[in-house]
Amino acid sequence: MRGKRGFAALVAASSLIVLGAAGAASNVTFIYAGASDPTYLDPALVSDGESFRIARQIFESLVALKPGTTTLVPELATKWRVGRDGKTWTFNLRRGVKFHDGTPFNSAAVCANFNRWYNWTGPFQDASASFYYRQLFGGFKKNESTGLGPPLYKSCRSAGRYVAIVRLNRRSGPFVPSLVLPAFAIQSPTAMRRYEANKGELVSGTFRPTGTYAFQHPTGTGPYKFGSWTIGQRVVLDRNNSYWGKRSPLARIIVRPISNNTARLQALQTGEINGYDLVAPQDMPTIRQNRKLKLINRPPFNVAYVTINRSKAPMNNILVRRAVAHGLDRAGVVRSFYAGRAVVAHQFMPPAVAGYEPKVKKYAFNPEESKRLLRQAGLTLPVKIDFYWPTNVSRPYMPSPNLNFAAFKASLERSGFEVRGVSEPWRPDYVKHVNEGSGGHLNLIGWTGDYADADNFVGTFFQSANPQFGLTRQGAHGVIAKLLDRAEAEVNQAKRITLYKRINRLIAEFIPGVPYAHSTPGVAVESRVRNYKASPVGTERFYGITIGGQ
């Protein structure tokens, strides 16, 4: 009898603990710090990371990236296929999904979103409103600016409630991969209509929505729904208890803006926040030494590179570009200035992106080979060059530009060059001069990807006559540019991968610049935060995170 009572008491106690834990889980709030407020909450109209961070919690797209990777997985579409013409995409949609306002998710909702973007007029066609749509879809139904091209999108129709057929005007390989961007998330047509999502104006040249949707009523299908937004202080997101997937363990997420690096770190140390993004390299040792905190690696999704401007002699000579490649001590820079959080880059896209070619030509640091190549090019040593580098900036792929520059200058001067260093503030002079090609023979810069597709890296850099590298779409570059055109239009993923591998090999032979690092940015969280999967693309969903003994 005593034994039975004891067992019953044990069961009762266990039940209480379990119930208690469940109760605690339902009340847990995760507080996270970003660097600033979101611009607004309609993801189709923003292009900044802080807005995307919020959007990823509220909204879902047809496709997504597997957490912590660049692998494309189904989200609101369970599967998709392209027709024989390469231009007709059929999406089979997830059933039983509802938007936060109760509107059912179906093919009509998907088409309403595509048509919304395509039919934008007036201020919505401005780059400050529709930056990513313009980048990926090229143009609108009626273009109102000469800078816009023909639209990629043609039409969308429902083939039953859960099948949407999207027709494009041309074949496009990046079409589906780019849909992971929050800018192409599926929003509730009812809420957008009710809260006037399609009303906006240009004031003094700047776009702003005039309806309340973008500020107070963003409505998606995601695991969290919008709660409130106090400008300068916080965005509150509440758990969507009707979510189609597993219920999130966190009841509430609060994202607060803290622009200062030290302030973010101190807020984590005091427990005022549970985690923060954009950890400054100098703060990483402090976090590592604190048992209550931990550093989570964001998989490398960037590339730091030195541009070689071919329009500036003698950089039009391939021998000189090879000499530059051999003269830059890339391994030394990565070893010395990235605190073990980067790998040496040999091509202009990170290894995680499909199309990465491990067998590209590599240029080891070799000062003697560099001098030999310069003499072979008929030049008298030392060869004088201008090398531009930025000040007032620290990027994930380039934490300390001054150190990178100093090391590269030293290695180039051992390799037959005489380097004149020119520094400019990152904003606004440096980026402008490098992008328009008016910087130096060599320039330090880099890129963080927006979505997991080779087109977002090598296509961005080398498909056009990019003045950053002094490119012309002639000769060897012409061949690369045409292959990039082909790869962009290819919809067979296996063929695309083959094409991009070939392109990467050609780029490594052509040497428009010298990639040197893929870095691993850090996210800091309390040690009791579990299941935080940092996304390579910069912002992640907090779905699945638990805190402490949840």
Binding site: T29, I31, S36, D37, T39, Y40, D126, A127, S128, F131, S145, G147, L202, V203, S204, G205, T206, F207, R208, P209, I231, G232, Q233, R234, I254, R256, P257, I258, S259, N260, T262, A263, Q266, A267, Q269, T270, E272, P425, R427, P428, D429, V431, K432, N435, E436, I445, G446, W447, P467
Partner: protein, 334 residues
């Protein structure tokens, strides 16, 4: 008095015109254009050109200035190119935070500065005097951001006594109808929120108040030293008045005039936004907002925000001038 006030208000017009010119041309003298800042790495020459056309940045400067004046007189400061929100809306949200912080900082510097200065003067040449001079020297010379980080490290990170960022507990669900959190909490008799808001004010107020504290201490000390040897003070003492009465009625009251002047000027300065303090404490006021605007070359925010703060500064000075007459009946304005 009324004529004086009207004349000073009329003087605001040329002051504001001059200010608007200064701000307009200063912002445009900054290197680069907002297009490059906003577009960042993703900028292309074509996008920059489109942006500048849209902004009207390709028009002659005098045309841009005229457009700016036309909208500004309607109190329309435009839309921030970074946040895409109306500048006037942002001022409404952020200025109350700055006012609360500035007043808390002034309160701190007055409550500590006047007694420190007074007792330093009373113990002229002694250890306390030298100590207060040393403290005020430190207060003036230590960089505010350094002091702010130090305060946070000691009182928030190490001791855990006070919060390190923000204006209120981030999980608080309290409404703030006036945006003056202290006032709202008092009106609604929400003492828990009042305590929370005051706790968030302590460290930034000390950091921000360190310079006024040093100045007030020194001015008080000098003024008390001046006054305490005046004939009327010696007469009061000779009459046998208790020392506390002499200090209160004759020394402090007469020393108050230069102190009130400096308090007024310092309040005006603090209301102009505390860029460093607000940034380090993630305090959502005018200072942190303007800092972002400088980085973003946000013309609308810089022009509107600075003009608004300049107006506040001028008005505070007017109030200070008027208060002279109330504090010191010997002064009469005509």
């Amino acid at each position: 008095m009324l004529r004086f006030v009207v004349r000073r208000l009329l003087l605001l017009v040329p002051i504001l015109v001059g200010l608007s010119l200064l701000v307009f041309f200063w912002v445009r003298a900054l290197p680069g254009s907002p297009a490059d800042s906003i577009l960042g790495e993703r900028s292309t020459p074509a996008l920059v050109q489109e942006y500048e056309e849209r902004f009207g940045l390709d028009e002659p400067v005098y045309v841009q200035y005229w457009k700016y004046v036309q909208t500004t007189v309607k109190l329309d400061f435009g839309v921030s190119s970074a946040t895409h929100r109306y500048v006037t809306d942002e001022i409404k949200e952020r200025f109350p935070a700055t006012v609360e912080l500035a007043l808390a900082a002034m309160l701190f510097s007055i409550l500590f500065g006047i007694p420190l200065g007074f007792f330093a003067a009373k113990r002229h040449g002694g250890l306390f005097d030298h100590g207060s001079l040393f403290v005020s020297l430190i207060g003036v010379s230590i960089p505010v951001f350094f002091l702010a980080i130090l305060l946070k490290y000691v009182f928030a990170v190490r001791l855990g006594w006070l919060p390190s960022v923000g204006r209120i507990d981030v999980t608080s669900e309290v409404e703030h109808p006036t945006n003056f959190y202290v006032v709202d909490a008092i009106i609604t008799r929400d003492w828990a929120t009042l305590k929370d808001v005051l706790r968030h004010l302590v460290l930034p107020a000390i950091a921000l108040g360190s310079i006024p504290l040093a100045i007030i201490t020194r001015i008080t000390r000098a003024a008390v030293l001046d006054v305490q040897n005046e004939d009327y003070v010696r007469t009061a003492r000779a009459k046998g008045l208790p020392p506390q009465t002499v200090d209160r009625r004759h020394v402090l009251r007469n020393a108050l005039l230069p102190i009130s002047t400096i308090i007024g000027l310092q309040t005006g300065l603090l209301l102009s936004g505390a860029i460093l303090t607000e940034t380090v404490f993630a305090f959502p006021g005018m200072g942190s907002w303007l800092r972002e605007a400088i980085f973003n070359r946000d013309y609308a925010v810089l022009q509107g925000g600075i003009l608004f703060l300049a107006l506040v500064f001028v008005l505070v000075n007017l109030v200070v001038d008027i208060s002279y007459a109330i504090i010191n009946p010997r002064i009469r304005y005509s």
